[in-house]
């Protein structure tokens, strides 16, 4: 795109986005998003569904600006609970728990929250520019991915999840497989068979992500804290400086930059891209770090990288929706619903026919991110003070919000029971020294890998060579092989054991 065209487009966009009305809708969306992000379980999809009918009364640009605000607001809010109480609000904040929560336990919650907010703002700004400059070519890039390529990318992702654990490789592998098995529960897309559903209606579509992570991370952590007075005091008593030190800021710069690029690229892949973003960034930071053994004990790089990556991915996941009308996740499906309610058919023609809407939304994303960082930095003091609440009260409040959050997802009481079951499982796994993060990756990627593999085989009429004939797929498989070799090779393995045993 020509520079002058781009500037005039952005000028048009900002002229729409800074109208008083749209600024208010943007702020409203960002506020609501932050609030629901902080409340565990209540996600942007449910909120947007509730607000969709209300947006009918608004002009189309105001409505979409507010809905978009809810989405990226939730990304900011979701990391807050991950850091403070080990509850990932969304799939993208799972890895934030690993080091963010450890930082909070060392009294550096404020610093972790500030780094997360600043990293997200930077990544969000860069990704917004990427959408403005390169949406159409990025769309073409994403369309190069065929089912076989997705499959190989998922294989690479799964093998890489071993790195998420900082204990034994065997246990990490076991957790990945357990996660894959849990992910297979539900109706099979290709045959319609029900697997392990025990005639429970809620299991027909598989185990929900929210009950699973809430149980494994949040509830298990509460049980562990309540059984151990020393551990509990660690959470609630120590709160040191609210702001990151100069050293922490310096260490965060490179991870933020890498996370932004990685997240921005993976975010444009429909289905699964955004999930891969934050944990790929974590994997990358751990791999290139000089002190990988310290990851999982409160490394600021483990917060800065993934938080930037997930926000960059959240922004670029708008690309397929804006340019093709294809939702890359459930939130984007809601955005499409919002557009259609205003009589706008999402698709390639939106950019030409409604330029004020297209560019207005893009401009509002940047404004919204700015609002969020302004909003969130002063809030850090309040969030951190939350940790001063006696744990016996805080734990009950967390349980209460978890139950309400899970129930509100599908109005289903069974799902509230699920978090209890997964909470117990999580506690048992914790006592066994098995970490939940690789399990979550297996749970998310396993079923996608199966779907893509069977789809690729179906399209290739049963010819398995498709996985090595396509260059993209072959490249991912070769990378996977190299990574496996690195993990399995005895000498490297020994070194890893030594390095990871602390």
């Amino acid at each position: 795109m020509e520079l002058s065209g781009l500037i005039s487009n952005l000028a048009l966009g900002f002229s729409v986005a800074v109208s008083l009305q749209n600024l208010i809708w943007c702020l409203a969306g960002a506020l609501i998003g932050t609030a629901i992000g902080v409340l565990p379980g209540i996600g942007p999809v449910a909120t947007m569904a509730l607000l969709l009918p209300a947006t009918y009364a608004l002009p189309a640009d105001g409505a979409l600006i507010m809905l978009a605000g809810i989405y990226y607001g939730a990304q900011y809010g979701g990391s807050t609970t991950a850091i403070l109480v080990n509850l990932p609000g969304e799939s993208s904040s799972v890895v934030t728990c690993l080091d963010g929560y450890q930082m909070a336990r060392q009294g550096r919650a404020g610093s972790a929250l500030a780094i997360a907010a600043l990293g997200s703002f930077f990544a969000g700004s860069v990704a917004t520019v990427a959408i403005a400059v390169a949406a159409p070519p990025l769309t073409k890039l994403a369309q190069q991915f065929q089912p076989a390529d997705y499959f190989s990318l998922m294989v690479l992702g799964l093998v890489a999840s071993i790195v998420l654990a900082h204990g034994s490789v065997i246990k990490a592998l076991g957790m990945i497989f357990l996660g894959m098995l849990l992910g297979l529960v539900g109706t099979d897309v290709n045959t319609g068979n029900a697997r392990y559903t025990f005639e429970i209606g809620e299991l027909f579509d598989g185990i929900g992500f929210v009950p699973l992570t809430m149980g494994l991370f949040g509830i298990a952590e509460i049980i562990a804290n309540l059984t151990n007075a020393e551990r509990r005091d660690l959470v609630s008593s120590k709160v040191s400086s609210l702001w990151p030190s100069r050293d922490e800021l310096k260490r965060s710069v490179a991870p933020v930059l890498r996370g932004t690029v990685l997240g921005g690229l993976l975010g444009i892949l429909p289905g699964g891209g955004a999930v891969l973003a934050s944990f790929s960034s974590y994997t990358l930071e751990k791999k290139i770090s000089k002190t990988p053994e310290k990851f999982g004990t409160g490394m600021v790089e483990g917060v800065a990288g993934p938080e930037s990556a997930n926000n960059a991915a959240a922004q670029t996941s708008f690309i397929p929706m804006l340019t093709l009308g294809i939702p890359s996740n459930a939130v984007m499906a809601m955005m499409i619903g919002g557009m259609m309610m205003h009589g706008i058919a999402p698709g390639p023609q939106v950019m030409q026919q409604r330029p004020e809407l297209f560019w207005g939304m893009i401009a509002s994303m940047w404004i919204g991110n700015l609002m969020l960082v302004v909003l969130n930095l002063p809030l850090i003091g309040i969030w951190v003070r939350l940790l001063l609440v006696p744990y016996r009260l805080l734990s009950i409040a967390i349980l209460f919000f978890c139950c309400i959050g899970v129930y509100s997802l599908n109005n289903s009481a069974n799902e509230v029971l699920f978090i209890a079951v997964f909470g117990l499982l999580g506690y048992v796994l914790m006592r066994l020294g098995c970490e939940p993060a690789p399990l979550i990756m297996g749970f998310l990627l396993g079923p996608m890998m199966e779907t893509y593999m069977r789809r690729a085989m179906l399209l290739a009429r049963g010819d398995a060579n498709v996985f090595i004939e396509r260059p993209l797929s072959l490249a991912f498989l070769v990378l996977t092989g190299l990574l496996l070799l690195f993990i399995v090779l005895p000498s490297v393995g020994r070194a890893r054991e030594v390095a990871f045993k602390e």
Binding site: V45, M48, A49, L52, P53, Y56, Q143, Q144, Q146, P147, T187, V189, N190, T191, G192, N193, G201, E202, F204, D205, P270, G271, P320, L324, G325, I326, P327, A330, A333, M334, I336, G337, M340, M341, G343, A345, P346, G347, P348, Q349, N410, N411, T451, R455, L458, L459, R461
Partner: protein, 324 residues
């Protein structure tokens, strides 16, 4: 003895009269509290897009909230079952595409009876769409597609929104009626399927989300799967015009009450829906999402449902479509 019987019957008739009076009072004042429209799919899909304008217009017309309650899951069976088990008091209804009532029951065991559990109220919107093909394949018209598919058996693939959805059944019907060999690739929802149609990974589809891309010239629509032509695509013939009578079956959405709901309430709601459907505003709103509302009485909807079920059951049997 006689006397006692007489007293009994008097007592009984008093009770009956009282019940009737109460019931008719209930009917006359309906709706005097919010009405729940259970939609058995997640928000954002085509049924949601059709259901929400209706909820809004009915709320205005009756002065009571009509609330859309999305109960997605298990191909729509969870929400549909919830309505089947709801009290037939006129305050819970099902807003559904035809999958749950006229397709799934022929493919698998469902936790409700598609006919006995429900009382049809009205049609809400038929989706106006046809078969859509990627331009790189070659065929530009319906006849050319048939010709191409006959000459290249097994070469083409089509994407659907999932097993047992109307997006699958319509293409299976085409395959069966025209004797074609086209591979079915099921997706989770029509968005995913469209994503693979655009780069020609699959070649065919049948869903309204393709239409913006047809208008942009990225995809070609070959016909209209509806009894009448689409006002925006006046040149595209219907299947009947193309020599396939009885194949012009759209994907259709309707509203149903739990069986046993007072017929007066159903009649009242049906009359209001028909009245709203005739307004230019509602017509325009349905057209903007590529839908049209046929005006039918509850009895006509019931007959249409039975006929559609039978037609799908026959097709599923003769084309040997199975959930393995």
């Amino acid at each position: 003895m006689h006397r006692r019987t007489f007293l009994k019957s008097v007592a009984a008739s008093t009770v009956t009269t009282a019940t009737i009076t109460r019931a008719s009072a209930q009917v006359a004042s309906w709706p005097d509290k919010p009405v729940k429209l259970i939609l058995p799919y997640a928000p954002g899909g085509s049924t949601d897009l059709i259901g929400r304008p209706w909820a809004e217009k009915l709320t205005q017309a009756f002065g009571q909230q009509f609330i859309v309650d999305n109960r997605g899951g298990a191909s729509g069976m969870i929400g549909t079952e919830a309505v089947a088990k709801s009290a037939p008091d006129g305050y819970t209804f099902l807003v559904t595409p035809n999958n749950t009532l006229t397709i799934l029951p022929s493919l698998r065991k469902v936790p409700y009876d598609p006919i006995k559990s429900f009382a049809p109220v009205a049609r809400l919107g038929d989706l106006l769409c046809g078969f859509v093909i990627h331009p790189a394949v070659g065929p530009k018209t319906f006849a050319e597609l048939i010709d191409y598919a006959k000459k290249n058996p097994g070469k083409l693939s089509y994407g659907s929104a999932g097993l047992g959805t109307a997006t699958q059944l319509r293409l299976e019907m085409l395959k069966f009626k025209a004797g074609l060999d086209i591979l079915h690739v099921p997706y989770k929802g029509s968005g995913e399927a469209l994503n693979d149609l655009l780069p020609n990974t699959v070649q065919l589809m049948n869903e309204i989300n393709c239409i913006p891309h047809v208008k942009a010239g990225k995809l070609i629509m070959l016909n209209i799967n509806h009894a009448e032509r689409h006002p925006e695509f006046p040149d595209l013939p219907t299947l009947t015009e193309l020599g396939h009578p009885n194949a012009d079956v759209p994907i259709w959405n309707s509203i149903h009450a739990p069986a046993g709901t007072p017929p007066e309430i159903i009649a009242k709601l049906n009359a209001k829906i028909v009245e709203i459907a005739k307004t230019d505003e509602m017509k325009a709103r349905m057209r903007s999402i590529h839908a049209a509302t046929p005006l039918q009485t509850p009895a006509e909807v019931a007959a249409y449902q039975v006929a559609d079920m039978q037609r799908n059951a026959d097709l599923i049997k003769s084309a040997n479509i199975k959930l393995e």
